[in-house]
């Protein structure tokens, strides 16, 4: 454990940086609904809208962690509800493998989550974000293979 991480865990003032890839049709609308319904959720998420969870390349996850994300969330339509019929099924396979592999390398499983959030689930979105943020807080800042940029 690096000093950084130890410090942050102890003082608990660590506010994680979380990148969320949301599908256009369900999860993005769900997050939008949470917003319009004035549901409060942690402000740690940076949302990136994609057309489908199936569009999310597993390398996006790796790259986000490299570029300074402490956690990554991929969210799409519930199984069976995909706007493109099967996109989320493909995504599910990819991310199951990716998550297990990252865990195998020593990246805490809390850092990479997935969820199914529909357009009507504004309150579920809040719960998902709370759980993700709490999980990432418990493991501290990402310090495994983050770019330690411009190391002279």
């Amino acid at each position: 454990m690096t000093e950084d991480k130890a410090k942050a865990t102890v003082t608990t003032d660590f506010e994680p940086n979380i990148v969320a890839f949301l599908c256009n049709w369900c999860s993005y609308a769900g997050a939008d609904l949470a917003g319009t319904s004035r549901i409060q959720y942690p402000a740690n998420v940076k949302v990136i809208r994609v057309m489908c969870s199936g569009r999310v390349n597993p390398l996006f996850v790796m790259n986000a962690l490299q570029q300074g994300a402490d956690g990554v969330l991929v969210s799409g339509c519930h199984p069976g509800d995909c706007h493109y019929m099967h996109g989320n099924y493909y995504a599910r396979r990819r991310f199951t493998l990716m998550r297990d592999f990252l865990e195998y390398l020593g990246v805490e499983p809390e850092r990479f989550r997935a969820s199914w959030v529909s357009a009507s689930e504004g309150s579920k979105w809040k719960e998902v974000i709370e759980e993700v943020v709490e999980g990432v807080k418990s493991v501290g800042p990402m310090d495994q293979f983050k770019r330690r940029q411009l190391n002279w």
Binding site: Q67, R147, Q149, L150, N151, W152
Partner: protein, 338 residues
């Protein structure tokens, strides 16, 4: 300066004395031997044939920052290439000779401040190949010797329970001075023993190649069918070039992160498919045939025609580590016979 003796039991003390320099020595992790900065003399692993990655990496790092820039700021922040006074302990004579050869290029039409600065502040303490060299070593064919001192500042010869210490340059004298409390004068018998080992080591080298006339001959074999044959198995990986002590090609790339970035240079390999790729999509070396030919020609023809030395020191890393047993001596033999 006369030859000295360093008792092996005092090796730890000697390395301790040198810790006022940035001290690098061979270390072992798994089956890989690498030159690393050592804090504890016990980390040094001197019972080795040769390091997996040549110590060229110390003066010519695989990735190095040249300068840093920031959006909105017209001034660049240049990086000081200095790493401080450095001693590389226990490198092989072939790798030291490689540095002397490559230095000619970095000191040629443009004086490379990064390479030259670190070369200048680095003292090379060599370890002669007194046990029988590896089966593929061929330094004697390309102008080197298992006990050669070209490029070195100090040469150590393992005499069983002690090292014979031979100071070759002024820089070497500085290191010897730092160790003066540990060194004793060498006896005539020690020098004789070292001379005997040297002859034996030379005899122990079993593979040879005649390099006379290769420089011109290679150019005349441009379209010879042998290139297709010798490159047929090539996978296009960078093992032969990255692990070569004389290969020195680099690429320069900008790396930008938000509003700041750096320009860095990093090793490149002529065996990679994008090495000579033009922006237009045209590649003057479109296949591994041309790339293999270039690797051999560069070492045995272009470089000697400019600088007088063959850019190969016979360390045999490329032979030992090639995934598909492409053997530079086998290729040269075919060139000689062609």
């Amino acid at each position: 300066m006369a030859e000295k003796i360093l008792i092996k039991e005092r090796l730890g003390d000697a390395l301790g004395e040198l810790s006022k320099f940035r001290l690098l020595a061979p270390t072992k992790s798994d089956e890989v031997v690498l030159f690393k900065q050592i804090d504890d003399p016990a980390e040094a692993y001197l019972d080795y044939l040769n390091s997996t990655v040549p110590p060229k990496r110390v003066v010519f790092p695989q990735t190095e920052t040249l300068f840093k820039f920031r959006a909105g700021e017209p001034d660049l922040e240049e990086k000081d290439p200095s790493e401080g006074e450095t001693v590389i302990w226990g490198l092989r004579p072939c790798d030291a000779r490689a540095m002397a050869i490559v230095e000619k290029l970095f000191n040629w039409d443009y004086e490379d401040p990064y390479y030259l600065k670190r070369r200048e502040e680095t003292t090379l303490v060599g370890l002669a190949c007194s046990s029988i060299p590896s089966v593929n070593c061929f330094c004697t064919s390309v102008g080197g010797h298992p006990f050669g001192t070209e490029g070195l500042d100090v040469l150590l010869t393992d005499l069983g329970d002690k090292y014979l210490v031979e100071v070759v340059s002024d820089k070497g004298a500085k290191v010897a001075e730092a160790l003066s409390g540990l060194l004793a004068d060498a006896a005539g018998a020690d020098k004789e023993a070292a001379a005997k080992l040297s002859t034996e080591a030379e005899k122990g080298i079993s593979r040879t190649i005649g390099t006379e006339g290769l420089q011109e001959k290679l150019l005349n074999l441009w379209e010879n069918p042998l290139w297709k044959k010798v490159s047929a198995a090539c996978l296009g990986c960078g093992v032969c070039t990255y692990l070569c002590p004389t290969c020195h090609c680099f690429d320069i790339q900008d790396e930008v992160e938000e509003d700041e970035g750096r320009r860095a240079r990093m090793w490149d390999s002529c065996m990679f498919c994008e090495y000579t790729l033009h922006g237009s999509g045209h590649n003057p070396r479109p296949t591994r045939r041309e790339r293999t030919r270039n690797r051999i020609n560069h070492k045995y023809s272009y470089f000697p025609s400019k600088f007088g030395d063959i850019a190969c020191v016979g360390c045999a890393r490329c032979i030992n580590l090639c995934p598909v047993n492409i053997d530079i001596l086998d290729i040269l033999q075919q060139v000689v016979e062609a």
